[in-house]
Amino acid sequence: MCGIVGLFLKDPKLEPQLGAMLTDMLITMTDRGPDSAGIAIYGGAKDGLGKITIQSAHPENDFKDLDGDLHDAIGQPVTMLVKSTHAVLEVPLAQMDAARSALSHLRPGVKVMSAGDSIEIFKEVGLPKDVAARFDVARMKGTHGIGHTRMATESAVTTMGAHPFSTGPDQCLVHNGSLSNHNGLRRELIRKGMTFETQNDTEVAAAYVSQKLKEGEDLGTALESGLEDLDGFYTFVVGTKNGFGVVRDPIACKPAVMAETDDYVAFGSEYRALVNLPGIENARVWEPEPATVYFWER
């Protein structure tokens, strides 16, 4: 099992409440995945700046003076907002690669959770309510976001094994299910130049989609290709800078419920996750069809 929640806002008036709405949905899914939780929030882009979300097992050492050290390394100012074991670095877009490269030398123990114009990812081991509180997710604003509660089956319960996985700029993927051909696919993707942080099957699916996008496919086509190449059980929700996509394997035994109103599109592993959304009584509620790609973009 695992729990997935997702929210894509159509009405900008709801954007200040995105984090609060997602937190409520995420906590409802605790009994589908009590061992770890994570959230990807697309908080909007600032002109000329990109975001790198980093994580450390020793934040008190690793994050100390990191903004200044990075400034010295890349010659441009860097701002850092520390949230518990994670920190969000704002870096001029032109220096994103330089900053990541400098980071790996300056703080080799630091992991990059996500990088892009808009995405921030926070994930940790623990109950969803504790993870959400630790990063103060309820106060985050944004246009769309995806959350995951994990009950591990394929790899260890660790911070890096939690979802979402991000393997490309502003991209992320969460998964309910398990893949059976991930080792072979991982080897192919490594040959194509992708790098992996874990032995986790979901990371392979994320990297697969990122590789397809890198090769020029759009999100819909990349997910269609995945139906051919990814073997196993899955409901995936995939986030990009502009929206999110949903796809279930052809057998579709992993649950999925969607709701749409004029104000939002919401995803939940179960209807329970959606019951407190505004106007849910009159929303169009449906189950995504098997082997069918859905996505919403602005």
């Binding site: 057998i251 579709a252 035994c253 649950p255 419920v257 179960e270 209807y271 019951v275 098997p290």
Partner: protein
């Protein structure tokens, strides 16, 4: 009428009150409010009572039902009326996957659509779906009747035993060993009764349906095929 607020009193309290009803009771009408997709609402009831759930339910609502009439005024999550023994379950909205799975008796009515695996391994239950059903429905269904006013998805009746399947609309594909069969007068009479009891008699006529059943080639052991088993 006993009104039970699930949001305030909780699922354990509801189900233990319902389980305490044995045989004849004066508390024959129950209403459950604020279900909010909770799991196992009114599962394991064994009394001739009427229960109305005002809203949508999560996994396994009305599971193992015996005798009770349970109405869901919303949609139902996975496994609604799973392993029902007797009684009636009526869903105003849609049902998620494996509705009525392994049901041994009683009647399940779904007024909207049912998702995949509707009636999987059914063993005597009658299921009437006013809308359409998803893929792999009636997989390994052993006995009972599945009536679908709309369409059926892929692999209908795969590895079917002796359940009868009646579909009015299209069937995307038939599963292994499931074939179309002739509709005889006794089937029309059976269907007329099921449509009436399934609150669908104004919506469809028996002669509009096709009947599907087992070709009986798969489940009989044949010594000549021993090496393939």
């Amino acid at each position: 009428m006993q009104t039970f607020d699930l949001g305030k009193e909780g699922l354990r309290a509801l189900n233990s009150s319902l389980h305490a009803l044995k045989g004849q009771t004066n508390m024959t009408a129950w209403e459950v409010i604020n279900p909010k997709g909770a799991h196992a609402i009114a599962a394991g009831v064994d009394a001739p009572v009427e229960i109305t759930v005002r809203g949508s339910t999560g996994y396994y609502c009305a599971g193992m039902n015996k005798q009770a009439t349970i109405r869901i005024k919303g949609s139902a999550g996975p496994g609604v009326a799973e392993n029902m023994m007797s009684g009636t379950v009526i869903i105003d909205g849609n049902a998620s996957q494996y509705a009525g799975a392994t049901g041994r008796g009683g009647l399940l009515v779904i007024k909207g659509n049912a998702s995949s695996r509707c009636g999987v391994s059914m063993k005597g239950i009658d299921i009437v779906v006013h809308g359409s059903i998803g893929h792999m429905s009636a997989f390994m269904a052993q006995s009972g009747n599945l009536v679908v006013l709309g369409d059926a998805g892929d692999a209908l009746g795969d590895s079917l035993y002796e359940a009868r399947l009646f579909v009015r609309g299209s069937v995307k594909s038939l599963g292994a060993d499931c074939i179309e069969k002739e509709m005889r007068p006794e089937h029309l009479a059976l269907l007329a009764d099921l449509l009436k009891r399934g609150e669908a008699d104004g919506k469809a006529k028996p002669e509009e349906f096709k009947r599907y059943g087992s070709a009986r080639k798969l489940y009989n052991f044949n010594i000549d095929n021993a090496s393939s088993y």
